[in-house]
Symmetry: C2
Subunit: 417 residues, 2 copies
């Protein structure tokens, strides 16, 4: 709508609202944004440490606690922050009021502890904004079909923010965090990493899921489906996103918004990987199902899979899981050894997954071969390879992580010069 | 209803649920009560210290914080305890679920920070109990007409418990606290103080409002109006109220339930008193209104009032307020000195109010004269006297507090022998 007031959702995570002074600073930032003539809606997490404290209480009472009660307890963290920020805003002369999830209402399914968003009624929030009031919504929570409080699971505040942005048709959803944007790779490893002005949803999804922990994967998927433009920026660096076109952070947008598509946008790595090799399985139909069926039932997430068949009528199966899932994967595989008739299970948690990501590689061959050549030149042995339309991932020994990331960053021309 | 299952409301205050171990102990106690074949509904306060922490956050952000936001923040304390106790009960094999005020719903007016109860819909709670589930309700809170969270003010959890007991037509409302009952006077002052098995609502009201801080005044008034039988008992002493007729605490009931009415039931004292004397006011009509009107507007609660007229056509007015209200009372009176034309304002915060209370004194003269004689024999000077149907109160110098209470306790035959 040309001429209408821009509408911005601002989301602040736990460290951004970690204490009273930080909450005051956030209020100042919201005030500045409001003063540019925007309608503003704020979404907050619990104060850093609060959620862990509440979870600790639950754990101390019962290792297998009722997820309904867990949700009701843990959701109070965000409720407190939203009220405190509303008070801080009022103190600065900004009209504001808090909303718990059930007050919006933010409706979810009944999967307590990891609920999925169902519908958000934006009417009350839009009514508030029309009156010049800044709604401050408790993130991470909603209300189930039976009227009980639900939570979206860890990191769910990003998802809340994106969903609320969609519900009120916001022009942008700004996620304030402790980094100032999305980089071509981890700046702690590569000093020459560059901040990206724009990145596509697809690329962000691949980067988020392979270890760049800036935005929660679920929230990026939702933003893509709903067409919400998301900016990642720092709540600790001054000068918020006031003028479009001069955004201080990184914008996650649709591919159409990016004119010059780079071949490779970023390099991600994940140390949370473990490799399992099942050796000398009698090669007959149904082997994959006999292995991955039980793993799936045991809730083990399997990532890269490679199968190689030997000359002797046996086959080898290699795959990766997260380090957390490794013990469960091992015990599951041991329980099926008799039926699968494999000879040996070998595991290795000393591995790292390196991924190069970019929408540009769809139309260009050669990305994978550049990767393999670059690693080969450094004598880095590739253990497993997997590819998707916009990503090539390899598993290498953990000791090569930094070397591999730096070499690839240079090879794809990403270095900041 | 003869033959029906007894229904008990159990209310636990902040120190009773002060940490995880205490919450576990409360769960054991609730389990025992349930195992006697009762239907049980539990009401909880916030863990001791939590409310103060949350209030501290609000104060740190703004000395004049929005009471709507204050309520939303502070109410989380009880929400956490109710969830934790539900988990602790489930761990013991007792079916339980938490209820926030809005989930019951407990409807209140919109006076945030000191809301009054409107209606409580007992249907969901009764439905729970019918299924063998123990509802654990967050005390102290409700939901206003606009759907925002309200609180009933400090001590409001007792009121929640009594109101819920009325809503579900409970046979009794047990208030677990850090004392094991209601005593004839403060046992810290009088070693021979006796625990009362029964006390009337009216007596309890007078005792509560004059300094016996066992039950919140509002909750007693509500219990009287609704005919809820209230038991005060300790959550720290073992052996809960399992068998009627052998109740371990003190029962607050209707006068009809008490067969032998004592002349004097108890002696209360309050140190939170301040005396103000306005001297030499021109004695003309409307003086009292000119003084107490402005005080009322300034929210100063006035208690005992004595007017004495001198021979010279002037009058003196003496009254008491709480120590908290004293500065406000002084500044108010100074502001009306010109119009009231009084000569002098004298204040004294070094006073104590002693009260003897008993429904029996309605039909017996001589209670007041016993009091005056007893104090006179100890050379204790009475500064102000006020009486009600079932109470005689006197104001004396603070240094005589203990002496006066002990002497009166003996004089009225209350000593435990």
């Amino acid at each position: 709508m040309p001429g209408s007031v821009p509408r911005i959702v601002m989301k602040f995570g736990g460290t951004s609202v970690g204490d009273i002074e930080r909450i005051k600073a956030v209020a100042e930032r919201v005030k500045k944004q409001k003063e540019t003539g925007c309608d503003v809606l704020v979404v907050v997490s619990a104060m850093a440490g609060e959620t862990n404290k509440l979870v600790g209480f639950c754990d101390a009472l019962s290792e297998l606690h009722d997820p309904c009660e867990y949700d009701s307890i843990v959701a109070t963290g965000e409720q407190v922050t939203s009220g405190l920020l509303a008070i801080a805003l009022q103190k600065l002369g900004v009209n504001a009021r808090s909303f718990a999830g059930w007050q919006v209402p933010i409706r979810t399914d009944s999967q307590h502890g990891k609920a999925s968003l169902d519908t958000i009624d934006g009417a009350r929030l839009l009514g508030c904004m029309a009156e010049g009031i800044v709604p401050v919504v408790a993130g991470f929570q909603g209300v189930g079909p039976d009227g009980r409080v639900t939570t979206l699971g860890r990191g769910g505040s990003d998802t809340s923010a994106v969903a609320l942005a969609a519900a009120v048709k916001a022009d942008r959803c700004d996620i304030y965090t402790d980094v100032d944007g999305i980089y071509t790779t981890d700046p702690r490893i590569v000093a020459k990493a560059r901040k990206l002005e724009k990145i596509t949803y697809e690329e962000m999804l691949e980067l988020a899921s392979v270890g760049a922990k800036v935005l929660q994967t679920r929230s990026v998927g939702l933003a893509m489906r709903e067409g919400v433009r998301v900016q990642v920026l720092s709540s600790f660096v001054d000068g918020p996103a006031l003028v479009e076109g001069k955004l201080p952070g990184s914008l996650v947008v649709d591919e159409d918004e990016i004119v010059e598509k780079k071949l490779v946008t970023g390099i991600a790595y994940s140390r949370d990987e473990a490799k399992l090799s099942i050796r000398r399985i009698p090669d007959r139909p149904g082997i994959a199902a006999a292995i991955f069926g039980p793993l799936s039932e045991a809730n083990v997430n399997v990532d890269m899979i490679v199968q190689s068949t030997g000359a002797d009528g046996t086959t080898n199966m290699t795959f990766t899981t997260s380090k957390t899932d490794l013990p469960r994967a091992i015990s599951t595989l041991e329980s099926v050894q008799a039926s699968v008739e494999y000879e040996e299970l070998v595991t290795d948690a000393d591995v790292v997954k390196i991924s190069v990501v970019g929408v540009g590689m769809r139309s260009h061959a050669g990305v994978a071969s550049t990767m393999f050549r670059t690693l080969s030149e450094r004598s880095i042995n590739i253990q497993v390879i997997s590819t998707s339309e916009i990503k090539v991932s390899v598993l290498v020994a953990a000791e090569y992580a930094e070397l591999a990331v730096r070499a690839l960053h240079t090879a794809y021309g990403l270095d900041n010069v």
